[in-house]
């Protein structure tokens, strides 16, 4: 629960005005179920390593994702209700957990995500060159994963860390102007500061104090991949999936 309160705290920082979402009523601005899956797959490229109901329609989620009445064809839901929001936030947590699990290996996951070079290229896109340079250097051997998994925040200067966050947000969204357009403050500044402050003031002390937070349990809170995974969770939880 605490983590949710933290998320709310961030939401309050980053957002000023209320945007009342609607769903199939404004279909062109809210993605349909297949598009939601496309977007999530794009943001969690390692998610394909593990089956997730967050990426496929099943009997349980089809209604909340906007299924239609079989007799009339009319949408059952015309707006994202609390159940959709809950599904989405739970899915973010699950996909973050899957991603961390995929990275918690010391061997290249052969045959599951292309060649080793392709996998390293994907990780470089996800995390940016700063993370790769600081954590792994030029090592493209199988030690690549072990080095990345063990890499800690303390290995980065503040300037380097700012670049890491910039790279991560670029992967998720795009350039600084786009972040501003989506209400994340000028050049994403509000978001950067909120994420960093949140980590220093609340997340790290809480984790060191023994806070259990589901998918991130048993991970080292100083590990870069945990911090970035949790950042991704926070940032995407703020996103209203409206384009």
């Amino acid at each position: 629960m605490k983590i949710l309160v933290f998320t709310l705290f961030l939401a309050q920082i980053a957002y000023g005005q209320i945007w009342q979402a609607s769903y199939t009523e404004n279909w062109s601005r809210h993605p349909s179920a297949p598009v939601i899956f496309e977007i999530l797959k794009g943001r969690f490229p390692l998610s394909s390593l593990k089956y997730s109901k967050c990426l496929h329609l099943d009997e349980k989620n089809k209604t909340l994702l906007g299924d239609s009445n079989p007799s009339s064809g009319a949408p059952v839901q015309t707006q994202p209700g609390p159940s959709f929001v809950e599904w989405y936030s739970n899915c973010l947590a699950e996909l973050v957990a899957n991603e961390l699990e995929a990275l918690s290996v010391t061997q290249f996951p052969a045959g599951r995500i292309g060649t080793q070079q392709e996998f390293i290229k994907l990780l470089t896109q996800m995390y940016g060159t700063t993370v790769i340079n600081v954590c792994v250097g030029n090592d493209t051997s199988t030690r690549f994963y072990a080095k990345l998994s063990a890499c800690e925040r303390s290995q980065f200067t503040d300037d380097q860390w700012h670049q890491v966050l910039t790279d991560q947000l670029f992967f998720l969204y795009g350039d600084a102007d786009y972040l501003s357009d989506r209400g994340f403050g000028s050049g994403g500044k509000v978001l950067f500061e909120a994420l960093d402050q949140f980590y220093r003031d609340q997340y790290l002390p809480a984790r060191q104090g023994g806070l259990k937070i589901g998918p991130l349990e048993n991970k080292n809170p100083n590990h870069v991949i945990e911090i970035l995974a949790f950042n991704k969770y926070l940032v995407l939880a703020l996103d209203d999936m409206k384009f």
Binding site: L4, V5, T7, L8, A11, Q12, Y15, G16, Q17, I18, W19, Q20, A21, S22, N26, W27, S28, R29, P31, S32, A33, P34, V35, E38, I39, G42, H56, L57, D58, E59, K62, D67, S68, N69, S71, S72, G73, A74, Q79, G81, P82, V85, E86, S89, Q125, F170, F171, Y173, G174, D175, D177, Y178, S180, D181, G183, A237, L238, D239, D240, F243
Partner: protein, 490 residues
């Protein structure tokens, strides 16, 4: 928890001129149903400001010709026609994809891919038939799955019967070999999507609906005239019209019920508004069950207008198609679909803009891709909608629908004629009635929890934030969409 995430889902997009990335993201999302790839985001950084317009035009053309748009377009049309079937698993997904490649899907994708006139939805005489991908699994399945070959078999007896069902299911939809079937322009018994098995199979006829469902879809899809069945299709939700239709006590005899039905259903003014349109058009479809009947029927098309009512006999389904595409209501309705789909219902389509788009629609000879390009070039395409004020009617409308969902249920149904709160301003019989209901809402929302008249009574779907939003709206004067204040602010 719900309240928490409800709050997280707030946003503010208030920039006056969106960045190139924002514009490209929207273009990509709207035309391809996906966001920009990582490499595309990097590509944007290399575009100089003076080249932005050219770059967007180039990308628009690229996206218009992408397979992604073609797939998305089919999905949108399945939504528009309410023919969408959901994919439930990987295995079912394959089956659905295969079954999607029927004559309806082929016609829809041809209209886009070949940049045909939008009118071909109604006027086309060309079909690409595909065999059924799967063996029917049960007797019900046999009835539900009618192959394209079976459907046209009475019109074209020479169609090969072996095409009805494949001996072996292909692994890829592209392996399904389609058979081209073209009818001459003079063929009056076929008319685009209206004579496809997918359309007629979905909107079946029964002794009760007598093809009115089909007629209602024609009005909804092509004229934006949406009508709802008085007898609800969902047994758990009862319509407020039910008491009008069956205006008789539940212990009545069968004879009394029949008499009541004849008198009550269709005779009342509120019923006649729809039935005077549906009944004569439904007759047109009367000869079609699940197979296209070679015997053509005649009907009548009625379109009420402000000054006079347009009514004309339609001698065949092809005649109906030709008549429809010539109507101004059709033109406006179809343009509105493009607007809603690519720009968004949340951005108002003003009259002068509609007139401009009508001219453009006809200038490009109603060609589909060309008109999408016209729409994507409108300034509204890239501009985010104005943020909704917390206390505006637009902000609380989705919440008021929750009121409707309870008040429509049986326990409240017959106590008093409760209006639909989400459409209160549109549906209300008089200003006095609107104000009276708003006052009732305000009183009951503000009652203490212990009061049995307190609303809402079922808190399952409500959070404190939701209640605060509704109270804030009503206490600040209950403004409607036009900004008219209906109550004195408190």
């Amino acid at each position: 928890m719900k309240m928490l995430f409800g709050l997280i889902f707030f946003s503010s997009v208030t920039m006056a001129s969106p960045s190139l990335t924002s514009r490209m993201t929207r273009l990509s999302f709207q035309l391809r149903g996906s966001l920009l790839s990582f490499d595309e985001k990097k590509e944007l950084a290399l575009v100089s400001p003076q080249d932005e317009a050219k770059f967007i035009e180039q990308k628009t053309n690229e996206y218009l010709n992408s397979n992604r748009l073609s797939d998305a377009f089919l999905y949108w049309q399945l939504e528009r026609f309410k023919l969408k079937t959901f994919i439930l698993s990987d295995e079912a997904e394959k089956e659905t994809q295969l079954d999607l490649k029927d004559s309806f899907a082929n016609l829809v994708t041809d209209i886009l891919n070949q940049n045909l006139s939008w009118d071909q939805f109604l006027l086309s005489k060309n079909y690409r038939l595909v065999p059924l991908a799967l063996k029917p699994k049960s007797r019900e399945d046999v009835r539900a799955r009618v192959s394209d070959f079976d459907f046209f078999s009475l019109l074209v007896p020479s169609l090969p019967r072996e095409g009805v069902q494949l001996a072996k299911r292909p692994s890829d939809p592209s392996e399904l070999q389609a058979l081209n079937l073209s009818f001459p322009d003079s063929e009056s018994r076929v008319a685009g999507v209206l004579t496809t098995p997918r359309f007629l199979r979905k909107y079946t006829t029964t002794d009760v609906n007598k093809n009115r469902r089909r007629a209602a879809q024609v009005y909804r899809i092509f004229l934006c005239d949406t009508m709802f069945p008085a007898i609800p299709e969902d047994a758990n939700r009862k319509s407020k019209y039910l008491s009008q239709v069956f205006a008789i006590h539940e212990t009545a005899t069968e004879e009394q019920l029949k008499a009541s039905l004849e008198i009550g259903h269709g005779a009342q003014e509120s019923c006649r508004g729809c039935h005077s349109k549906l009944d004569p058009l439904g007759v047109l479809f009367q000869s079609h069950t699940t197979v296209l009947n070679p015997v053509s029927s005649t009907g009548s098309l009625k379109i009420p207008r402000a000054t006079e009512t347009f009514q004309t006999p339609v001698l065949s389904v092809a005649d109906l198609a030709k008549t429809l595409v010539a109507q101004p209501e059709y033109e406006a309705c179809q343009i509105r679909w493009f607007w809603n789909q690519f720009i968004g219902k949340d951005i108002d389509l003003k009259d002068e803009k509609l007139e401009l788009l009508k001219r453009e629609f006809n200038r490009v000879q109603r060609r589909t891709k060309d008109f999408i390009k016209v729409i994507a070039s409108q300034p509204e395409f890239f501009n985010p909608p104005a943020p909704i004020e917390a206390s505006s009617f637009a902000a609380v409308k989705p919440l008021l629908k929750r009121c409707d969902s309870c008040h429509e249920s049986e326990s409240y149904m017959f106590s008093e004629d409760v209006p639909h709160f989400a459409t209160l301003f549109e549906d209300s019989k008089s200003d006095e009635s609107t104000i009276s209901w708003l006052l009732k809402m305000r009183t009951r929302l503000n009652l203490p929890s212990s009061d049995t008249h307190k609303m809402p009574q079922n808190f399952t779907h409500w959070t404190e934030a939701d209640l605060t939003a509704v109270k804030s709206w009503i206490n600040s004067g209950a403004k409607d969409d036009a900004g008219t204040q209906w109550l004195e602010p408190q």
